[in-house]
């Protein structure tokens, strides 16, 4: 029946929903189910062992040179008298400005130390000097072209992840919700995705007002929208179905595994909700999270200010997520991607900030990631004569190579890579393992 491989896990060997479905025992259901798990049994089963994908979009142009620090390139320090972090082992340095060596050339900011577990376990991969080859320094154009998966083409209306979902069968037969954007509006990445909604708070999703008339009002609204066409029809129907789905999960009672503690910042709660959704196995297979605040034109604060806090929250959330799903033995089929629309200028400006740049780093974290590495297709360098347009880290690896490899090898959709990334022939770089 189910082919979803959940590996050996004491808790789940006892409590596996698959087994519950097989036995159909409501007694067992009521007796032993963790309280946050769905209270209703879905009659369907998982038909795919592919990854659930979580995209964290760092809006504003995150400074990749402060996230995966090229301390082996001397120009990094000369370019950035005001914002550079320090090489590993530098003495007399504020701890928040220090870094931890990764591979002898790159280092991890102290603020991101909570990713050490994932790195040491080879679940975390940095890809550097990558990004969208679109030359725009506009946040909005750069984000759009990255999200639709085709540079410089304003006619593409759908997102790359939306097209992946639209060209693949649901991971769970009969799934009512395949994608979630954890925001009040839909991220372009997910545009065109079937059974996908923007939901700002998955823990609070129901008809308000008098509970005694709730059912009658829901029926009235359901019927009223049957006369509509898409996208309003789909929005109404997906919403109605999702109310029941999310009501079956007790988010507020969710207990992370392994003692994982998520940061209280919004990225922390988003990742915690994401973990709860994944562990509940209700068929959500793509989650898009927006993390803002990365447009650090002035007082960037990579040495103990704004950027430090952003990095601590991001790494804290990703680190807790790793701990949680590892302990729950569910990390094998999860893939987290953190990316941003562009990097920032190699040199800092007079406000101890950096302006819109070009090349950047990306993070991939997952059970199928060939991690513990900083992958680059050659390091273009930060010295004079090496910078893109004389001011930025150059791009030596089109970010679509990374995403396309994920789509083909981890999302089980190799047949449709050319639809997901049109007019582009990706080069697979050996960043993730092929699904068995």
């Amino acid at each position: 029946m189910a082919t979803y491989d959940r590996n050996a896990c004491d808790e789940y060997n006892e409590l596996s929903r698959r087994d519950l479905i097989a036995t159909g025992s409501m007694g067992l259901f009521g007796l032993a189910m963790p309280s946050w798990l769905p209270r209703v049994t879905l009659s369907e089963s998982f038909v795919s062992n592919r990854d659930v994908i979580v995209q964290i979009y760092l809006r504003g142009g995150a400074d990749g040179l402060s996230m995966c620090v090229p301390y082996g390139d001397p120009a990094y320090f000369t370019n950035r008298p005001l914002t550079s972090l320090y090489a590993p082992g530098a003495s007399g340095v504020n701890r928040l400005a220090s870094t931890i060596d990764l591979d002898g050339f790159f280092s991890l900011p102290y603020a991101m130390r909570k990713l050490r577990g994932a790195w040491d376990n080879q679940n975390l991969l940095f890809v550097h000097a990558t990004g969208s080859v679109d030359p725009s320094r506009s946040h909005f154009d750069a984000q759009r072209y990255m999200e639709v998966g085709k540079p410089s083409d304003p006619t593409v209306a759908t997102g790359w992840l939306g097209r992946h979902l639209a060209t693949s069968s649901a991971m769970l037969n009969g799934s009512v919700l395949r994608g979630i954007g954890m925001a009040t509006g839909l991220a372009k990445t997910l545009a065109g995705a079937p059974l996908t909604l923007p939901i700002p708070n998955v823990a609070n999703f129901n008809f308000e007002g008098d509970t005694t008339t709730r059912t009658a009002r829901r029926t009235f609204v359901s019927n009223a929208y049957l006369t509509e066409t898409d996208p309003l029809l789909a929005a109404a129907q997906n919403t109605q179905a999702t109310i029941d789905l999310l009501a079956s999960i007790n988010f507020s009672g969710y207990v992370p595994a392994g003692g994982a503690v998520y940061p209280t910042a919004s990225i922390g709660s988003a990742m915690k909700s994401t973990a709860a959704l994944i562990r509940a196995q209700v068929g959500v297979e793509a989650i898009a999270i927006d993390a803002g605040g990365w447009d650090t034109h002035s007082a960037q604060g990579s040495r103990g200010g704004t950027m430090t806090t952003l990095l601590q929250n991001l790494a804290g959330a990703m680190g807790a997520f790793w701990t949680d799903l590892m302990a729950a033995n569910m990390f094998d089929n999860v893939l987290v991607i953190a990316l941003s629309e562009f990097g920032r200028t190699a040199k800092d400006n007079s406000n101890a900030g950096t302006d819109h740049g070009h090349g950047n780093c990306m993070m991939l974290m997952g059970g199928g990631v060939i991690g513990g590495r900083v992958y680059r297709n050659g390091w273009p360098g930060l010295g004079a004569g090496q910078l893109y347009q004389n001011q930025d880290l150059a791009i030596t690896l089109d970010h679509r190579d990374v995403l396309a490899e994920v789509v083909a090898k981890r999302l089980g959709n190799s047949a449709n890579v050319s639809t997901v990334f049109p007019n582009y022939t990706p080069t697979f770089r050996g960043l993730v393992q092929q699904l068995p």
Binding site: F140, T184, A191, T213, L226, S298
Partner: protein
Amino acid sequence: MKQRTRRNGSTSSANVKDTSPLETRRGMLRRAAAVGLIAAGAASVAAPPTSRPPSSRPQPGSGPEPLPPSPDILYRLVQRLTYGFTPEEYALAQSLGFQGYLDYHLNYTAIDDSACNARLSSLTSLTLLPYQMFDLADSSVPVTQVSEAALIRATYSKRQFFERMVEFWTDHFNIDIGKSGFLKAIDDRDVIRANALGNFGTLCRASGQSAAMLFYLDNSSSRGNGTNIPNQNYARELMELHTMGVDGGYTQSDVLNAARCLTGWTYYSSLADGNNRGLFKYQASFHDNNAKVVLGTNIPANGGLQDGITVFNLVIAHPSTAIYIAKKLAAFLLDYNPPQAVIDAAAAAFTSSNGDIPTVIRSIMTPANLSAAPNKLRRPYHLFIAGLRGLNANVTSFSTIRTNQLVVAGQVPFTWSTPDGFPDSIEYWVGNILPRWNFGFRIAQTGSLGISGVSIDLTALANGQTTAAGLAGQMNSRIYNGNLSAARVTALTNYLLPNTPTTAKIRDAWGLALSLPDFQWF
């Protein structure tokens, strides 16, 4: 290429793209709907028939703008110019005619707004001079009050179209109040509201000397003297978002040089600046006084303040700016994808009038253009206000709406964090429909089921109707000017039955009347 759906339901020749994998959005959405239909569990209920003529209703999947325009052009005009139909506005439109009603709203200073002003009287920070805001013991007061004032005005001002245009320019020159703090309250009054139906150049120049804008986009601390590298943030958005548009023809070199020209544009902020605090200041010691080239124009050395003024002159007069503003205004007022002829005419009006905003609007908002325009989706802010107007709600405080309902819906005024302003698209907003339904349910209720500070007068709303059918008809008339289909009215009637409905049921039904698909569009 873009897809367009006209009122006859036909789609433009762009349809050929439908066969390409990129443009299968409609197919995808259809598929999503098909699955959703099964999932929703309501699919077995037959769709009620619609009273609209089939010819005006696009077939399922024929495009992203599904509702046909109502044949009632004055109803549509009221919907477009205001925050939602009321019988009073409609009566005015009927007595003045299409052009007269538009002129009435464009000549907004002649409209007596004393009733709305009375509702604003307790918001004392609205009239403070900039330096007085610096001296407040609690600097959050103007932040709260300017947001409260926006909602009061949108709901109750008789100058409805002026308030819609304030919303448009607030997005166009977006400033996140979370970053700027009370400086945005000054900007709202002295930049946006002072010029919303004035001259574009005046508005843009005022924005360029607004403390809130200079701080929000980092220009106030940008230095270009000596070896300092200027901050490009404001210079870029001035060209990309405020004037020429991202495809307007400027280069990265233009951005850099404009940023150099604008070094030293800051504002008075220290205690020693006294009564000048919050006002524009040119700080010569921050300025890059070397020669520059912007958009092909040589800007000689030692120009000082004039360098920045030259930049504004160049970008405001640039042909791309006329097109960009014309298109954005037409998209806001008329159609997400305005016809090229409308854009061309509006751009010509912009150029010939030197950026007179009402002249551009007159070019766009014609009976022919409006008749041809598909409906637009209300953004949540617009939808909420329309709901309050639809039920003639008395709101003594918007505090709960600001801090709860608008947060979940995603559109608290002045809080969009990035400089592009709240999006104006169906695709972005449509999925988050649950808060839109819930708002209707809540405002029609009382006590813990309602919203603190909001009340409705059920008796007045009923207008003497007491039966299920009579009340449903009154809902149609009060909120939709009678434009609901017979099936909708029947559905409301059926909900209200038996024939003398309880008060609780009547409250539910008013909420349901606001949850209809028809209410999502304008």
